[in-house]
């Protein structure tokens, strides 16, 4: 169990003590609260939209979702009327630079030993703003100025005191994260061991993975022959070995059609699990991406360009990929797109031909799949974590506002709360402590 949850459960009865003493002495103080949100338009995402629906949650878990007539509300449940409001699963951003995240320095182009978790500032206002945008889970990554800039970290945007409070524990006991890689313009630097061409970029990466293969073999042999002796670890190769063993996903920044194909070639050679990120020219090689069965996490910008490799960026990427069956998600790349505009990305996808259903998946379930978290988050289904967002209206309308964001049953953003509203809208004090991070933003 996560430390954060332990604290929450331990404190809850203390906070409620006066209430219990005054009115409800008989209620067992440790009982987990049940809440029912009724009369809402609900998009479970894994199933069709429900009108006048009820979302029933118990503690941090979803108990039931369905039409109001079908969901039985227990007598002791707190009932919240959500008439006129829309409920969707918590948004999942597969690519974000909030929390003043940082990865490797510029001493070398491949730094798998670097963990971004060691840089995260959970008090950074960018995290509050992400909650205000309805984001409940994010993959915080280092920049694209390296071939491999570090280990990413998947976080639940709980109200935490330390970065550990936001960790996601995997079934094997380790925490959830991936590895950030990049090719194309940003990682070509032609100094300090950095590549000067695309050919060199690929060669440097291939050599490292070949080294990691040898390391993996050496470790297997050691564990077999000298199981009682400690193996001398290499933090960098260990991370690459995890990738080769399929334990970690590569999150690969790539724009141009030829760079996209280079990633697919590397995947083929080393057999790693990869998600393509940004993919500006995906529309040119959509068939190849579909054939490789590689998921894509897309960025949406209001105009193409900014560099040659993004010149042919098109809004139709979402439509072209999703209609070919590619698992397609969106990301903010905050600060490139502010986390509070995340819903708008999906609306641009719809504008350029993506179905509303696929666009909603792109904000939720598809992202969960890319992070291997679709068993616990990404849709409103019984047994999944109670991560949800209450909206004022249609998810794709510009006029719609995020009213509340809940992570594991806990309200982490409420537009009615003045300090939360400051982060939702901006204003004096909203910017404190915020800095842009990630490669290439300041030029």
């Amino acid at each position: 169990m996560r430390p954060r949850k332990l604290i929450a459960i331990a404190l809850a009865p203390l906070l409620l003590l006066p209430f219990f003493f005054s009115s409800a002495q008989e209620s067992p103080p440790l009982e987990v609260k049940i809440r029912a949100y009724t009369n809402a338009t609900i998009y479970p995402v894994s199933s069709p939209r429900i009108e006048k629906g009820t979302l029933l949650i118990k503690g941090d878990t979803i108990l039931a979702v369905g039409p109001g007539k079908e969901v039985k509300i227990p007598a002791d449940a707190e009932v919240i009327d959500a008439s006129g409001k829309t409920i969707i699963p918590g948004l999942i951003c597969t690519h974000s630079h909030i929390g003043s995240v940082a990865g490797g320095d510029y001493s070398s182009p491949i730094q798998p030993e670097v963990r971004v978790l060691d840089s995260i500032d959970v008090r950074n206002t960018s995290i509050d703003k992400a909650r205000a945008g309805g984001i409940t889970t994010a993959n915080l990554m280092s920049g694209s100025g390296h071939l491999l800039s570090g280990q990413t970290i998947y976080l639940k945007l709980r109200k935490g005191n330390t970065v550990e409070d936001l960790f996601i524990e995997q079934p094997d006991g380790t925490i959830a994260y991936g590895v950030k890689m990049a090719n194309g313009t940003n990682s070509i630097r032609d100094n300090g061991g950095f590549p000067g061409t695309r050919g060199k970029s690929a060669a440097l990466v291939r050599q490292k993975f070949i080294d990691a293969r040898a390391y993996l073999e050496k470790r297997r042999k050691h564990q077999k022959e000298k199981p009682d002796e400690a193996f001398e670890r290499d933090l960098a190769l260990e991370t690459l070995a995890d990738i080769l063993e399929g334990k970690r996903t590569v999150h690969h920044h790539t724009h141009r059609h030829d760079d996209i194909l280079t990633v697919l070639r590397l995947k083929e050679e080393f057999g790693f699990k990869v998600v393509l990120h940004h993919v500006s020219e995906a529309w040119k090689v959509a068939d190849e991406i579909a054939a490789a069965k590689v998921p894509c996490s897309l960025i949406f910008l209001d105009s193409p360009g900014g560099k040659l490799e993004a010149r042919d960026f098109e809004w139709k990427n979402g439509a072209e990929l999703s209609k070919r069956g590619v698992v397609t998600a969106f990301h903010t790349d905050d600060p490139i797109n502010d986390s509070r505009w995340f819903l708008r990305n999906a609306a641009v996808g719809v504008r350029a031909g993506m179905s509303r259903q696929k666009a909603l998946e792109g904000l939720t379930l598809a992202g969960a799949k890319m992070l291997d978290l679709d068993q616990s988050i990404g849709s409103l289904d019984p047994g999944k974590q109670a991560d949800f967002v209450i909206l004022s209206g249609d998810p794709f309308s510009i006029y719609t506002r995020v009213l509340e964001t809940h992570v594991e049953g806990e309200k982490v953003f409420d537009l009615e709360n003045p300090s939360d509203r400051l982060f939702a809208e901006g204003g004096y004090g909203a910017g404190h402590n915020r800095e842009a991070s990630g490669c290439c933003f300041y030029r």
């Binding site: 193409p304 600060p335 504008r351 006029y399 809208e425 204003g427 004096y428 404190h432």
Partner: protein, 405 residues
């Protein structure tokens, strides 16, 4: 030869005589409310021949008829860098918006740098933007001039290709304008005052020479003559000031030198609403989707709504982006303001008629009225909704785009 004549004839036909029918026609006149079932007749001379409810307007013979759910005046971007800040972001090739060799260079003209064939100009045109006030970017104390141009002009072959060849001079206060020197805000203002005082004494000499034949008119001076035109109120000074102390400094300078001030950006204007209103200064609001860092760290999406409530005239801009998106789309910025409390029709006005007013062009563009330029944007829904497509764009009676973008 015959082919050439035919091509010319076709051009002549496509130029003019379009009737546009709209379920909702935003003329942006009066109370800004749209006309239901409206018609605009775009005449052969590039001007609007008639506009009003379909019941009152007969479409003449020979007119091509286009229909759309919603029609607005062509969108006006009150402050852009498109055409100077090109799609590739490649210095010396398509980045002409900022020259950093000297902090004060009002003599740099936009007409000498504008590339109307940059793909981003077409990008904006296809989305409904018909006019841009574009030129030198924020980034130095005085970075250069701006001009107003239609988005269907590929090259500036003469000043007549622009609506206004020098529409404003761009100035920047605050962190963006600081480098080695000026290295502080105080030094920046001292440098500006010194330069404006030079122009003041020059202006005095020019005036004296006018009144007194014995006195000689000073020789032409490329830089100071532009500043003289600013002091003469012939050219407004577009001052980019985001923080409250920078906005206050801009107002202080305006009071001292009496130039025509347009506040640009003004992220913290919500702290000085009374002062801005009292100074009767219009504001070209920073892109609503600007990034909250540096001097914009305390920006709010509600700024436009607050200016509206305070009765301060304002318009939207796409502004300048160093990286991506290489250009913003001004009505998308208006849309986000509408999501944060600005009434829909006011948001539309702030990228049409209000922009025209701030640029001094309200007699020519910005609303759909008889005799004004036939610049129209056609949409298949609410122009501010992200999911709506632009279905047609008309500039001076010429259909310049018919995509569903």
């Amino acid at each position: 030869m015959f082919k050439a004549i035919l091509a010319l004839a076709l051009t002549a036909i496509s130029h003019g005589q379009i009737a546009v029918k709209a379920d909702l026609l935003f003329t942006m006149t009066g109370d800004l409310k749209p006309i239901k079932d409206g018609v605009v007749l775009c005449g052969k001379n590039g001007k609007i021949r008639a506009v009003g409810p379909a019941s009152q307007i007969k479409i003449p013979k020979g007119y091509q008829t286009l229909t759309a759910k919603v029609v607005t005046p062509g969108i006006i971007d009150a402050h852009a860098t498109v055409g100077l800040s090109g799609i590739l972001n490649s210095p010396k090739h398509d980045q002409e918006q900022l020259e950093k060799s000297s902090p004060i260079q009002p003599e740099l003209r936009a007409v000498d740098a504008y590339n109307g064939r940059d793909p981003l100009v077409k990008w904006l045109r296809d989305l409904g933007v018909t006019t841009v006030n574009t030129g030198h970017a924020p980034g130095t104390l005085i970075s250069g001039q701006l001009m107003v141009v239609k988005t269907n002009v590929p090259s500036i072959t003469s000043m007549k290709d622009t609506l206004v060849p020098t529409s404003a001079v761009a100035s920047t206060l605050g962190a963006k304008a600081l480098s080695k020197s000026p290295g502080t805000r105080s030094k920046a203002i001292a440098m500006l005052r010194a330069e404006l005082m030079k122009a003041q004494s020059r202006l005095l000499k020019i005036e004296e020479a006018k009144d007194d034949e014995e006195k000689e008119k000073p020789d032409a001076n490329l830089r100071l003559d532009v500043l003289v035109d600013i002091l003469n109120k012939k050219i407004p000074l577009l001052m980019n000031a985001q923080r409250h102390q920078d906005i206050a400094a801009a107002l202080r300078l305006q009071e001292e030198f009496g130039f025509k001030l347009i506040l640009d950006g003004a992220a913290e204007a919500y702290l000085l609403l009374d002062e801005i209103k009292a100074a009767k200064v219009p504001v070209i609001v920073h892109p609503t989707m600007g990034r909250p860092f540096g001097d914009l760290e305390n920006m709010t999406f509600t700024l436009a709504a607050q200016l509206h409530k305070a009765g301060i005239p304002f318009a939207f801009q796409s502004g300048y982006e160093a990286y991506v998106p290489k250009t913003r789309v001004v009505h998308f910025e208006a849309a986000m303001a509408a999501a944060y409390g600005l009434p829909q029709e006011v948001a539309l006005a702030a990228c049409t008629i209000q922009s025209a007013k701030i640029l001094g062009l309200e007699k020519k563009i910005g609303s759909l009225e008889k005799g004004k330029h036939a610049d129209l944007a056609l949409f298949d829904g609410d122009p501010l909704e992200t999911t709506t497509h632009t279905t047609g764009v008309i500039i001076e009676s010429q259909l310049v785009s018919a995509l569903a973008k």
